[in-house]
Symmetry: C2
DNA sequence: GAGGTTAGTGTCAGTCGCTGACACTTGACA
DNA sequence: TGTCAAGTGTCAGCGACTGACACTAACCTC
């Protein structure tokens, strides 16, 4: 192992091979769970890394071997979700139009990610975490930066699919911007809403994405949502 | 003085009254200049607060009495610009349409802010600072959060002007979002461009804002930019 | 199954951002 | 001129994070 992202999980789904690997997974998961649990109860700023490691009974140094920073832990699940989405997008057939491909990718991602998340943390903890992110200035800032980085990546991916140059043709970036605007919105709605289930966010995603194109129409009159 | 923003300048333009006040202004300005100078040469992360205070020959404690954080210093000039814009916007006559008012506010702000900035730092240092902000992840994150906060404030201001409810009517937020998207873009272009003058950014602003409405038209064909 | 290799962990010491408490200095003002 | 208060320095300490190094335990080989 030379230069690996501290946050990277090495085994996407298959059960880890060796005992060593399984132990690593366990400590990482335990740290993550403890961190999110504390963030969502005590608050992010009020939680010290020492409290996290005490709950798991490892040294502080170990925490920073798994997570590049305290912030990094807060975004670990989000990062999983993003990875799922990206690989789902890459697997969409070439004939699908950009928006169609992105839409299908999120929906199929939500279908498969459930178990992947729950292996690590209960989804309800993931929901509470996103609330913490939205309401903690330092985390919100990082979240926004991560979002635009993500947008840029996806725009390039879409441009590749369509054989376009992101810098010459504005359409990939525009389409992705509109799409991820809606995504961000449904994420917020889910966080504020009553239903913490995965079906709920999937349904929200579907419903709001269906409204994207009509909402961009020239004339809103005479039509009903 | 009970609860004042660490970054607030108490005297907008008129020369400070007492000697004490003038001294304060001098140390603050010196700290800010030293900080930005170091950020733009060495880099933000590579600059320690101790290096800044050593350059001005004050204690570290004093730095944190003027600036809430190291980040805060990086955004001090930007904050000045924003304040100028907001008060310019508040002074726009009521009959101007939202976009018109915002447009006129930026342009008049750029006209008056020059001297205000240069009293403190050379504009060219301000330009270099915005490059540092764009290229430093931690600062970019804060910049984005500040931007959406600013958008929200302006949207409320516009809604007030028009006698609307921001939460009921989406138009204020949409208009502001579009406007500040263009603002952010011209800011980046100015930072990357050749001409570090205020006239340059003023002209950029004017030119790109002129394109906002046509760019949103349904049909781009048959017309030339 | 002993023995060497190596990955993962703990310990320690140190840096940097930031804060509260308190004492000192120096403009301000009666 | 003396009093008051604002501004500053000093000090001690917390919390996030890092490098160095020693130790332990899975792993692999013979």
């Amino acid at each position: 192992m030379t230069a690996e992202q501290p946050t990277a999980r090495r085994t996407p789904t298959p059960a880890p091979a060796g005992l060593r690997e399984r132990k690593k997974q366990r400590t990482r998961d335990a740290l993550l769970r403890a961190a999110l649990e504390l963030f969502t109860t005590r608050g992010y700023e009020e939680t010290t890394v020492d409290e996290i490691v005490d709950a798991v009974d490892v040294s502080q140094r170990t925490f920073f071997r798994y997570f590049a920073s305290k912030e990094d832990a807060a975004f670990a699940v989000q990062q999983m979700v993003e990875r799922h989405f990206v690989s789902a997008l890459q697997e969409r057939p070439a004939h699908e139009a950009p928006l169609e491909a992105m839409r299908n990718a999120v929906l199929s991602a939500w279908d498969t990610i459930g178990e992947a998340i729950m292996e690590v943390v209960p989804i309800e903890l993931y929901l509470r975490t996103s609330q913490v992110i939205e309401s903690t200035p330092a985390l919100l800032a990082v979240h926004l930066r991560r979002s635009i980085e993500m947008e840029e990546n996806i725009a390039r991916l879409i441009a590749d699919r369509e054989g376009l140059d992101v810098d010459a043709d504005p359409r990939p970036r525009v389409a992705v911007a509109a799409f991820s605007g809606v995504m961000r919105m449904t994420g917020q709605l889910w966080g504020r809403g009553e239903d913490p289930s995965l079906e709920a966010i999937r349904a929200l995603t579907e419903a709001y994405l269906d409204h994207l194109r009509p909402a961009l129409a020239a004339d809103w009159r005479g039509t009903r949502a």
